[in-house]
């Protein structure tokens, strides 16, 4: 199965800039996820559209308070035949939307990364599957 993973680690402001600079093709996919961890908190957001032409999307959000949990979810998803099922497995996701789909990487990832202090050290991963 085709898969793309883009990750960066460091101060949140620098990590955000790197993700905002990703090719727009990344968020042109109908389904992708942002998985991140910082300040001991994990955050997973899965955006889904009906097709790459759909202008609206739903976002399923999970937040965890245990360090390492988001990494475990990411690594398991990378090895799973069904990435979505692995990401969601056993986790209480809250679904928001449908709402307008982001049209830029900044629009897609800015909200999650922007709530952290710029110097907070994070890792963030964008997974296209």
């Amino acid at each position: 199965m085709d898969l793309e993973l883009y990750t960066a680690c460091g101060p949140s402001q620098i990590v955000a800039r790197r993700l905002f600079g990703l090719p727009r093709d990344v968020i042109g996919h109908p389904r992708y996820a942002l998985v991140m961890e910082g300040d001991g908190e994990g955050d997973v957001r899965i955006l889904q559209r009906e097709s790459s032409k759909s202008t609206t999307a739903t976002v399923a959000i999970w937040r965890g308070l245990h360090a390492g949990e988001a990494m475990r979810m990411l690594v398991e998803a990378l090895e799973a035949p069904d990435v979505l099922a692995a990401l969601e497995h056993g986790q209480p996701f809250q679904v928001e939307g449908p709402a307008l789909a982001p049209t830029t990487p900044r629009g897609a990832f800015g909200l999650a990364l922007g709530r952290l202090h710029p110097q907070t050290r994070v890792w963030a991963a964008v997974l296209v599957f």
Binding site: D2, L5, Y6, G10, I14, L78
Partner: protein, 140 residues
């Protein structure tokens, strides 16, 4: 100048013609870092390649290993690369995983590749006949 993250890691899976343009579209900043490495896997084989800059920005050495596809290496690299360490600790930790139990052949000094295409195009061509490949690159 925008500061680089402590570490950046990218992974692509798919057929070689599908993976190549995504790999080549990565920012040239990646291959300007002091150290970057790649792990290619396909058809049961794998290649590790480490570029370490030296003598300023324009030259470096390349260490290469090829062999049977190692299990678990991808996950181990991702977890180590994102473990919130930085600097020499992070760099040496990741390189130690790549070098462990492998005899890498060192070539160079060689000119620093000017783009992701120049850096990863040749390794990817080695796997051109594989039906599917996984390419992982790390900038440190």
């Amino acid at each position: 100048v925008i500061a680089a993250p402590d570490c950046e890691l990218y992974l692509f899976r798919g057929s070689p013609p599908t993976v190549a343009p995504k790999l080549y579209a990565l920012s040239p900043d990646l291959v300007e870092r002091p150290v970057y490495a790649s792990l290619l896997r396909g058809a049961g084989q794998a290649e590790v390649r480490i570029f370490e800059g030296r003598d300023g920005r324009d030259l470096g050495t390349v260490a290469i290993w090829q062999g049977a596809d190692p299990t678990g290496l991808t996950d181990e690299l991702i977890e180590r690369a994102m473990d919130f360490t930085s600097g020499a600790d992070l760099r040496e930790g990741v390189l130690a995983i790549l070098r462990r139990d492998r005899q890498l052949k060192v070539v160079g000094p060689v000119p620093r590749p000017v783009s992701p295409r120049a850096a990863f195009g040749h390794p990817l061509r080695i796997f051109a006949k594989a039906p599917a490949v996984q390419v992982l690159v790390i900038g440190l």
